[in-house]
């Protein structure tokens, strides 16, 4: 394992009695794209500010390359930030904005010009140096804000919801560009967003946060396929979450039936929650079905139909299907054992990981073949 570049060790931040960060421990490795994902007010921006140096922590340590930087002021840290509202200086031109940090270092002028041009080329705005900030569009300002940060050649770039002010199309373009930029520069990006799609598309690793806590961390696929609890399952993607009961290893009961599943290590008879993604459900004839549901409504979403249905116990089901169904029709649904994901109530991330360790690896292979 490479040496981590940024570490937070049991970081807590309180304002009076109000705690915004609770015992946060995260590790960032060099050259990876990390995302802090959570609803607004969950503390993700506060984490960014503890790393950039604009917020002091109440307790715990902030480490940069293994050195404690709790007391190092923001202007002495080798990290740079792309701010949510860009914060480009309105009294300077584009080039002056990008050069700002370098001129403070008393760098020779020709060297500054060279690096500014290089940074502007990198964000594809090479000819914009002489423009005024208010002559730029939102997307262009966004790129200049990135150029102004990366011209400093930081080892960690912090991005505070940088795409939130852009329209949907531009946002998608910038997702590709940011990912591409991160890979070309090879530096660590820590990206803050409340948009799960953005997080899934760009990240190497996601930290899902809520109410000042990191609930789960892992690759986008891990988090999508194996959410740790109701909040994560609900926040990331769309899902059917149903109450159930564990009947033994790889056996779970819900919706009035017992099914084979891919989870183990949970005591028998423990109440659990089952997650099934709508795209993992397939419509079939009622006689071949694992469960029978009645179609309530459906919406055409372009590449699929979003079908809303109810089973005989009254549970709501959301199904994504390429074929339409008929309203009021009783229809069968099927799913594979590995499409079911079982979540225990109040399981912490370490317990969850430890439990997965006990049976994954061996079982994963033969389950995938079914």
């Amino acid at each position: 394992m490479t040496e981590p570049i940024v570490e937070l060790e049991q970081v807590t931040k309180s304002y009076g009695t109000h705690t915004v960060l609770k015992d946060i421990s995260i590790t960032l490795e060099p050259g990876k794209f990390y995302t802090l994902l959570g609803p607004s007010g969950c503390g993700k921006t506060t984490i960014l500010r503890t790393i950039s140096g604009f917020t002091t922590v109440t307790s715990g340590n902030v480490l940069f390359k293994g050195k404690r930087i709790n007391d190092v002021p923001a202007n002495k840290r080798n990290v740079n930030t792309v701010f949510q509202d860009y914060a480009l200086f309105p009294h300077m031109t584009v080039a002056e904005n990008v050069a700002f940090g370098l001129t403070l270092k008393k760098m020779p002028k020709d060297q500054i010009d060279e690096r500014v041009n290089q940074a502007l080329r990198l964000v594809q705005l090479a000819d914009f140096g002489d423009r005024a900030i208010d002559e730029l569009s939102g997307g262009q300002q966004q790129r200049i804000a990135i150029a102004r940060a990366i011209v400093m050649q930081p080892q960690v770039l912090l991005l505070d919801e940088p795409l939130s002010a852009l329209d949907a199309k531009l946002r998608r373009e910038m997702q590709y560009e940011l990912r591409d930029l991160q890979q070309r520069l090879g530096i660590t990006f820590l990206f803050v967003t409340h948009d799960q799609e953005e997080a899934l598309a760009m990240s190497d690793e996601i930290f899902v946060m809520n109410q000042g806590e990191v609930l789960q961390s892992g690759s986008p696929v891990d988090i999508y396929d194996e959410p740790i609890n109701h909040f994560v399952a609900d926040f990331i993607g769309e899902s059917n979450i149903l109450p159930g009961k564990m009947m033994g290893d790889y056996q779970v009961a819900f919706g009035g039936h017992q099914f084979e599943c891919a989870d183990a290590g949970i005591p028998v008879n423990e109440p659990v929650e089952i997650v099934i993604r709508p795209e993992d459900l397939n419509l079939t004839e009622p006689e071949h079905a694992k469960l029978k549901v009645t179609i309530d409504t459906q919406l055409f979403r372009g590449d699929y139909y979003e079908i809303s249905a109810t089973d005989r116990l009254g549970n709501d089901w959301l199904i994504h299907s390429v074929n339409p169904a008929e309203d009021g029709e009783t229809i069968g649904i099927t799913f594979r054992p590995q499409d079911l994901h079982v979540m225990r109530y109040d399981e912490k991330e370490e317990e969850f990981d430890a439990r997965l360790e006990t049976y994954e690896g061996t079982e994963d292979d033969d389950l995938d073949e079914t």
Partner: protein, 274 residues
């Protein structure tokens, strides 16, 4: 519908129009008109000729500008740090109110208060005696005039600067620090340039009135500093040479226009402030 809206607009314009006509345009026109008449009520350009040929008047003009400049510079030097400090305080609205409070008191009353403070037996001299320097002539000196004028003008400079600081987004300060700027560098390169419009507004509010401060030159300065304001007062009330007084008035107005143009809101090259 159209005529109704038009009539309505007209209606709202009436108070402003009256005010503008009666208290701005008419006095300006009268001063301009008067400046072309001599003591015998004959039309003449001699007032202007006199003004620009007489060393006394030119010296007086220079004097006015010089003292107004001094007052503005001192006011600025005190007001910017004060506004900056006030802006960082917790109950800043309250402290700002304390700064504004003295402006509610009549300038004449404040002048008389300073006569008491600066007089031979005043508090200032008592203090000087106490620390062993002994009583000095404070009242009726140029320094006391500048001191009191600065005191009176300070709130008018603090307010626009305070407002400019208030409008400044903290994100700019964060961005500057993030890029490695120290506190002083951030001030120099980001905070001050972005609050310059406030300083300019303050300069306008202080410099122009300071050109014609006649009450303080007499009461505090002991008429040692003769400014254009004093000259106008003398011409209208003592020598009764309304023509000459008006001419000086016209010169003052032109000076004000020049200051307005110099400190006006030009568009900076990087875009509009704020």
């Amino acid at each position: 519908m159209m005529t109704l809206t038009k009539r309505k607009t007209w209606f709202y314009f009436i108070p402003y129009g009256l005010w503008l006509g009666l208290f701005v345009i008419a006095p300006l026109a009268l001063i301009f008109y008067q400046s072309f008449f001599n003591l015998d009520h004959h039309f003449t350009f001699s007032n202007y000729a006199n003004y620009f040929q007489s060393l006394t008047y030119l010296k007086m003009t220079l004097n006015s500008v010089w003292y107004a400049l001094l007052i503005t510079v001192f006011t600025g030097l005190i007001s910017y740090p004060t506004a900056y400090f006030l802006h960082g305080l917790k109950h800043r609205q309250f402290w700002l109110l304390l700064v504004i409070l003295p402006t509610w008191i009549n300038i004449l009353l404040k002048a008389y208060a300073f006569i008491g403070i600066f007089s031979q037996a005043g508090i200032a001299n008592q203090f000087l005696s106490f620390i062993g320097i002994g009583p000095q002539q404070i009242l009726f000196t140029n320094a006391s005039f500048v001191f009191v004028a600065t005191y009176i003008q300070i709130p008018f400079m603090i307010l626009p600067i305070y407002n400019a600081l208030d409008d400044l987004s903290p994100a700019f300060i964060n961005a500057s620090q993030d890029l490695g700027a120290s506190g002083w560098q951030t001030f120099q390169r980001v905070i001050f340039p972005l609050t310059l419009p406030g300083v300019k507004a303050g300069v306008q509010a202080v410099f122009i009135p300071s050109l014609s401060l006649f009450m303080l030159t007499r009461l505090i300065g002991g008429n040692k500093v003769i400014t254009l304001g004093t000259a106008i007062e003398e011409h209208f009330l003592t020598t009764m040479n309304w023509g000459m007084g008006s001419t000086i008035g016209v010169v003052l107005i032109v000076a004000m226009v020049i200051v307005m143009l110099l400190t006006g809101d030009q568009k900076p090259k990087g875009g509009t402030p704020r």
